[in-house]
Amino acid sequence: MNPPDLDRILSRVDDLPTLPRTVLRITELVNDPKSSARDLARVITDDQVLAARLLKLVNSSFYGFPQRISTITGAIVLLGFDAIRNLLLTTSVFDLFSNRRKTSLIRQEQFWDHSLGCAVGAKVIGNYLRYGKVEELFVSGLLHDIGKIVEMIFLPQAFKEINDLVKDQNILMIAAEEKILGYSHPQIGNLLAERWNLPPKLISVISHHHQPSEAGRFVLEAAIVHLADILCRSIDIGYGGDNKMPALDKTAWDNLRIKPRAIESMLAEISKEFEDISLFITYSP
């Protein structure tokens, strides 16, 4: 059974932020084996803002294509369906962040930076491990703390109490959430992710980024985002809601088989890539 507050959120689930219609339509198309690049291009070009963003993104240094990509179809052919879906998901979530003005701007900016930092971190770790679909990791990192946004919007009073408790007792945000709400942001994130019909892998990472060893068949992905979170916090990229380090999940770490001496070069890479991408995808309320 869910705690009362979680039930309250569930009952208002229709008010939860929704993804733009275009993104939902694109998700459907991507999952439909019969759809073609042209079908997808048609949906994207119907939305001028989305189309412009997509071209800006594929032409950014993040992807590093040597020549300029000027058509949506070109972008789809080069990146593939899944990558496009993830890109658009990314930019839509970005909108979600920027439309809320309930906390101070700097707080929102730092929170966004934390998510973006984790996204970059997950990608860097994925590259090190030669993980095939790093852009999925990127989106997972970006969305891992989505439950905190829901708290901020739907439980503003509790959210304030949580932040006060974090400040007073210098504890992890997740510990403060447990004390005040009786549940925490991974559970809320799970609720939203299910509602959005996100892919199972993504739902699993959002729900288990604090206990990746419980993520079943997606233990690797959850472990990567778990480590990315820790690495970003260690070098002060953004603000995850507190000034403490979460404990490293031992099983998850052993699973990753990362040599401890590789950490330093990962941190350097995260730092540099974050700088590059954050100037490009800048938080602009």
Binding site: I106, S234, M245, P246, A247, W253, L267, A268, S284
Partner: protein, 116 residues
């Protein structure tokens, strides 16, 4: 404390007062340290001047060293942040690597600033 023009700001400086935009929305809190990105953000918001912590010297210049983020600062903050997890050797390793990275970050943006 001293008022500085936006072009005189350098990463590492600490705000003496919070910064607000014309609509009185808070952009940066008091005591936030400046980064390249934050200075850029202030510029895009059309901020001309901000208050910076610092100690004015006799020759008319201001000594910011006392308030800049220093190596010792980084170490102390990291130790506090990692206090509950240092019994894990991997976390200890992450903390050491983070300390080196943060110090690199501290020196890099300043170099860039000097050349401009």
């Amino acid at each position: 404390m001293i008022r500085l023009k936006i072009d005189e700001l350098k990463p590492g400086m600490i705000l003496a007062r919070s910064v607000h935009n014309q609509q009185d929305l808070q952009l940066l809190e008091k005591d936030s340290s400046l980064t390249k990105k934050r200075i850029w953000m202030l510029k895009t918001w059309g901020i001309d001047q901000v208050s910076i912590k610092g100690i004015p010297k006799n020759d008319g210049t201001t000594d910011f060293e006392a308030e800049l983020e220093t190596k010792e600062n980084i170490e102390t903050q990291l130790r506090a942040k990692f206090a509950d997890v240092t019994d894990d050797p991997v976390m200890e390793e992450i903390m050491k690597a983070a300390s080196r990275q943060l110090q690199k970050n501290l020196s890099d943006p300043e170099k860039e600033n000097e050349s401009t």
